[in-house]
Each structure stands twice: as C-alpha cells, then as structure tokens.
Amino acid sequence: MFDWNWAFTWEILPRLIHATGNTLIAAGAGYAIALVLGLILALAQRSQYRALTFLVREFVEFIRSTPLLLQIFFVFYVGPQFGIRLSPWASGMIAIGLHYSCYLSEVYRGGIESVPRGQWEAATALNMTMLQTYRRVVIPQAIPSALAGMGNYLVGIFKDTPMLSVIGVAELIHTANAIGSENYRFLEPYTMVGLIFLAISLPAAGLIRVFESYVRRKLGM
C-alpha cells in the first residue's frame, strides 16, 4: 500500500521499541513527580493561610493555561542563564511533572471536596488529629472519585511526552525524526509511532476503567 516498505519497517522496529521504553520511562517518572507535587499543591490550596492559598491557586492557573512546550523550553534554557545546567531528561521531567501536578492538584481537590462535611465533623468529634483525619477518613473516600481523573492524566502525560523531543530526549518522536532524516523515509517511522501510541493508550484507558471499578468495589462503594 502506498509504497509502504515492510523490510524497512522491520529494520527500524527495534529502535522504535527501544524508544518506546524511553517514552514509558519518561511518562512514568513525570507522573510520579506529578502525583506527589500535585498532592502538595492541593493541600496548600486548603491551608488556612490566605496568602499561600491565593499564590498556589494563581500558580496552578498559570501553569494550566500556558503551553507545556513553552514550559519545557523555559526550564531547559533558563537554568543555564543562571548557571544551573540541567540535562534534557532532568529538565523534561521537571517541566512535565510540574505541568501535570497542577492538573492532578485539581483532581485531588475535587476528590477531597466530594467527601461529605459530616465525615470531617465526625472525625473531629472522634478527636482525630488532622493527619489521622486525612489518612483514615478523607483520603480513602476521596480516592474513588479522583481515580478517573488520575487515570486520564496518566494517559495524557504519556501522549505529551513527544514534546520532550524538542530538547533532545530520545523518546519515540525524536527517534522517528532521526530515522526519517537518516533514510529520507518518513512514512514508516511516523506511522509506526502513531500505531505504537494507539496500541498503548487504548488498552491503558480500558485497564484504568477496570482498575477504577475494582477499587470502588474494594472500598465497598
């Protein structure tokens, strides 16, 4: 079909699979950062200090409404201006982790707010500390309603990793670019990259839905 070269496809497949590994590592590491940082941002927005709440809120809005691509460039190029040299991987992970932590903080916030007020009051009545209230009452109930959003952003971060190619992280698109310009053939590498993305993100979305209903069942909801 359309001059598709199967021999060439098989030849480049190992390189693409290797790059898929890098893509998955980037997505996983970025997501891990986002999960932790997102929780911090969500809790900071619930603090009693108005100034802190306001600042964090504005920060989250700022990051969410500006392009990730620009943020990646910012982190990568601004560091050296002030004498901080970051590798492409490090700056990529910072940028993508930070970007998605803002999205995740909104998911956490929604989850926490979905816990009925009575639960908080009951925890206070039982003389629980703040930490106990969060750990034993609020968070377990917040998780089910947050899971769908968390899953969506896991797939989202995976699909945004190609932007890391612009600072030279050797993920899928970066590799496809390299293969394309070495061989003057773009049809196979770019199409294969598209298919690899589909082959991972579609089952992942399905698995997340299964996992979500499993957790709901486990928590008796």
């Binding site: 969410r64 598209g194 579609l202």
Partner: protein, 221 residues
C-alpha cells in the same frame, strides 16, 4: 537586559507571533467545532457504519499525540500526493485533534437533553433534522459550554506545537529570539505571560460571557 528593555526592543516580532497564534487558534476553533458536531452526531447515528466511522476517528485522534498527528499530516500526507502548506497543516492538526475531544462533549451534551424534549418534538411532527437543529442542539449547547471552556484552553496551548513545523507563531518567534540573543528567561517569560493573558483574560471571560448569553437566550437565567 531588563524585561522592559527586552519588550521594547522585540515587541514587533512578539506581536506578529501573537497574531499568527491567534489566527491559528481561530482557524483551528472553526475546524474543531465543525468536526465535533459532525463526529458527535455520527457517534449517535443509528447506522452502525457511520457510528463505527466516528468511533474510529475519535479513538485515533484521542489515542495518539497531537505532535504525532501534526508530523503525520505535514510529513506523511505529501507522500500520498496531498501536500498541505505548513500554516494549513498546523491548524488542521490542532482542529482535528480538538474535534475528537469535542465530539465526545457534543455527544454528552445531546444525551443530557431530557427525553421529554425529543418526544415533544416528535409529537408536534417535526422532522428529525428540524428537531435536532431547533430543539435538541440549542439545549445541548448550553449543557456542554462549561467543558468547552477547558477544551478551548487546551486548543490554544495546542497551537504552540505548530511552531515545530516552522509556522511563525508566538512560540516560534520566542525560540528564534532565544536562538540569537540567549535571553532565555526574558523571551520565554514574556511568551508565557502572553499565552497566560490570552487564556485567562480573553478566552476565559469570553467563554463565561457566552455561557451567560446562551443561558439567557434559552430563558434559563
């Protein structure tokens, strides 16, 4: 160089870049809305083939990255004899990508219209097309406007990617200026602020206004 001197010197290029970004945004929005409507309606069609077509489109565009789609349209389509100019390829990719997400919103919005409305339209002998156009879609539009606000911000952020196929948008100009001056903090900082202003102080208020306007039109406010 302070940020003010910087803006004073480079504002013409930043402004022209912003102009291109806004044009890309508007073109992609028009295309995105058209595709959302078409695919959202096809997704609800009785014909299994039409439904299958819409589902395939939506899954392909939501399952892969915007960057992959952009490269595919720009580098691979010419191999099939369809050469698209970079400006067109840019808003086509962004619009087609957003269209897939929008289609799900259209579908959800239509399904949220109460069943009684369908029945009433049937009772007064409206044709299917007229029922959709005059009764269902206007109400669906009000239902789906709030999530469209978020999608429009995603769209604006998505247009930054067209810089990677050398469309001279704001992101591209920022990259070029950075390449010649190495004033990374200034140039990327200013670009971030411009994107933020576009999203937060123009797009968001406009969508809020549109929500209120539509609600009033529908006699719901």
């Amino acid at each position: 160089m302070t940020i003010f001197e910087f803006v004073g010197q480079y504002w013409p290029r930043l402004l022209s870049g912003t102009g291109v970004t806004v044009t890309q945004f508007l073109a992609a929005t028009a295309l995105g809305i058209a595709i959302s409507l078409a695919m959202g309606l096809l997704r609800l069609s009785h014909s299994m083939m039409l439904r299958g077509f819409a589902v395939t489109y939506i899954e392909i565009f939501r399952g892969t990255s915007l960057l992959v789609q952009l490269y595919w349209i720009f580098f691979v389509l010419p191999l099939f004899g369809i050469t698209v100019e970079k400006f067109t390829a840019g808003y086509m990719a962004v619009g087609m990508n957003i269209g897939a997400y929008g289609a799900e919103l259209v579908r959800g919005g239509i399904l949220a219209v109460p069943k009684g409305q369908w029945e009433a339209a049937l009772a007064i002998n409206m044709s299917a097309a007229k029922r959709m156009w005059r009764i269902i879609l206007p109400q669906a539009l009000v239902n789906m406007l709030p999530p469209w606000g978020n999608l429009m911000i995603e769209l604006l952020k998505g247009t930054a990617l067209v810089s990677l196929i050398s469309v001279t948008d704001l992101m591209f100009e920022a990259k070029q200026i950075n390449g010649t001056t190495f004033l990374s903090a200034q140039v990327f900082g200013v670009a971030l602020i411009i994107y933020y202003i576009l999203a937060r102080f123009m797009l968001t208020p406009f969508m809020r206004w549109l929500e209120r306007f539509m609600a009033r039109k529908m006699g719901r406010a």
